[in-house]
Amino acid sequence: MPNVISPDGSIRQDNWVVMPRPAEGESLDIPADQPALIPADLWLAGYEHFTGRQDIGVWFDSHDEPEILDGRVNELPVIAVNFPKFSDGRGYSIGRLLRERFGYVNELRAIGDVLLDQLQFMKRCGFDAYVLRADKDITKAQKCLNFFSQGYQAATDTEIPLFRRRAS
C-alpha cells in the first residue's frame, strides 16, 4: 500500500493501484477489490462503463494532453500525473492546467520519480498528494515542502502574485 504525503507533510496510506498501460492488443486488467488508476485515454474509451465509479481514477503520463478530459475532470475521484524522471518538468504544466484551466477539485496525485526536492514545486502546481519514490526518506517530506514561506509568482496555490500583494 502506498504511503501518500499531503501538502502539510502528514502521511497516510491508501490502496490506489496504478495500472500500467496494457501492451498492444492486450486488455486492461482492473482489480476487483482495489481502487485503480488507469490511463486517462482508456477511461475515456470506456467512459460509459467507468463514469461515476469512485474506485476508478486516471493517470496521465508526462507527454499526455490533459485537454482530453476537459469538461469531465470532476467526474474523477483521483487524477494522477506520472513523472517518468524527476527532471521531466511537463507534469507541472499538466497539474496547473487541470486545476486552473479545467477546474479540477478532487485529488491530484504525483506518481513516478517523485523526490523530496521536487515536492515544493508540485505543491505550488496544484498537486495535493505525493507518492514519494520508495527509497527516499519520507520523514523529510514535511521539511522539504516548507523551505519557502511564499513565492514571487501566482500559481495554483496563490492566485495573487507578490507584485499585487505588495501593492495592497
Binding site: F86, G89, C125, K143, A154
Partner: protein, 550 residues
Amino acid sequence: MYVYDEHDRQMAAERVAQFRDQTERALAGELAEDEFLPLRLQNGLYVQRLAPMLRICVPYGMMRSDQLRRLARITRDYDKGYAHFTTRQNVQLNWPALEDVPDILAELAEVEMHANQTSGNCIRNTTTDQFSGVQSDEIADPRPYCEIIRQWSTFHPEFAFLPRKFKVAVNASEHTDRAAIQVHDIGLQMVRNEAGELGFRVHVGGGLGRTPMVGPVIREFLPEMDLLTYLEAVLRVYNRYGRRDNKFKARIKILVKALTPEGFAEKVEAEWQHIKDSPTRLTPEAVQRIQAYFTEPDYAALDNATDLLASQRFENRGFDQWLTHNVDTHKKPGYAIVTLTMKKTGTPPGDVSDKQLEQIADLADEFSFGEVRVTHQQNVVLADVRQDRLLELWQAITPMGFGTANLNTLTDVICCPGGDYCALANAKSIPVAEAIQRQFDDLDYLYDLGNIDLNISGCMNACGHHHVGHIGVLGVDKKGQEFYQISLGGSSHHDASIGKILGPSFARDEMPQVISKIIDVYVDKRTEEETFLDTYRRVGIDPFKERVYA
C-alpha cells in the same frame, strides 16, 4: 538600483537554508549524483575540470560597491583571490570547495546577491544593455522590466525543469543592441506602437551553441502590461512541447523551427488567450513601484565640459585615445559613460583579482554614485562620471590596468575559459586571445581598423559567442590535436547574423598570422567609410579564402 524588501530578503534567506540542507543530504549520500546535479546547478554550482565553479548572478549586470567588496572578500576567503566576469553579465569563481558553497551563498545574501538559476534547465539571469538609463536613444529604461522578469522567473514552480536552459534579454535602444537579444531564447525589443504606447517586439528561438540561430519575431507588439502573461504562455508551450529526448535538440529554437515561427506563435497566442487577464497581468502601480528603484541619481546641474576636455586631449595623447574609444555620450550634460576594459594583454579576458574588485568598488564610490555595470563583453562600466573628472579617473585607472583604450577593437576579445579551465573544451582559448593581442599591439593600427568583434570559444557550446563575432574562432579537436576554425561575418547587434565558416582549421601557432591575413584583405578592399563587417558583407567570403589558403 533595485533594493530588497522584506519579501526578497526572506526568500533569499530561505533559499540559502534550503541549499545548505540539500548539500548536507548530498554529502551524506542521500541524494544521488544526478539528483543533486540540477539542485546545485540552480544554485550556480558546476563541477569543472579542476574544481567546482560557482556562477554568481548579477541581475542585468548591475552591482553596488558594497557588493563588489563582498565579492572580493569571498574570492580571498574561499577561492584563489580572483574572479571572472562572464559573457552573460555574471561573475564566476573558479575554485570554491563544495562544502563552502552554502556559506558563500549566505555571505552573498547579506548583500542582496545570490546564485539562483545561473545554471541548469531553468530561466536564467535576464540581461540587458549596460548603458540602460544613461543613453539618450532608449525607448524606456529596460531595467525595471528585467527586475520584473527576475522576480517572476525566480523559483517559478512550473518552469524549474525545462527541456533545457532558457535565457531572456531586453533591449531598449532604438539604434543599437548591446544585449544581443536576437541570439537569446527570448529577445525583447522595447518599442512604441503608433498610438505611442509602450510595448515589446518579441523574438523567440535565437541562440548559439550547436545550432546557431537568429531568433524570429513572433509578435510585433506586446503591450507593456502583458509582459509576464505572454512570457508564461511561451514558457508553457516550450515546457510542454520542447524536445526532451535529445539534449542537443532541446533548446526552444529547435521547437520554433519545427513548428515554424508562425506555427509556434499560434500556439503561444492560443495559450495566452486563457491567461492574459489573470492576476499575473502587470498593473501600472506594480511597474511604477519597480521603476521607482531606477530613478536618476543625484546629478549636478552641469554644462558639457567641451573646452576643458579639448585642452586636456590636446596635452595628452593617451587620454585623447581613451576618451575617443572607452568613453560614451551620456544623456545628461556634463556627464559621461566610461567603460573599464578588463582586456589587458596577458590577462585572461574578464579575469579580475580581489584587489581589482576593491579598486573598482572604490572607483564606483568616488566617480559614479557607487554603482557599476558588468557588460557581456566582459568589461565594467561606470555609468555616471562627471566630464570634468575624466582625466582624474583616467590617471587613476591606467596603473590598475583598466585603461587599455581598445574598446570594441580587435583586441577587445570575447573569450570563454576554454581548455585551461573547462572540461568540455576541445582546445584552449585564452592563449589564442593573448597571441592575437600580442600580434596587434599597435593602438593606432587598431583604431584604423575600427570596430571588429573577435569572439573565441573553446568548443561548439559557444560560451565565447564565436558565431556572432565579425571574426569567430572555434576550438576543434583533430585527432587529439587542438585546432581552430574561423568564421566571418557574424553579428550580435540589430543586424544579427551567424558567421560563415572560412574553411579548414588551423594550428594554434598559425592563428596570429591567419588573423593578420584576414585583416589585410579588409584593409585592401575597404572603402573609406566601411567597417570590417561592411566590407565582408559587400565582397563576400571568397577574397578572404583566397588570401588565407593561398
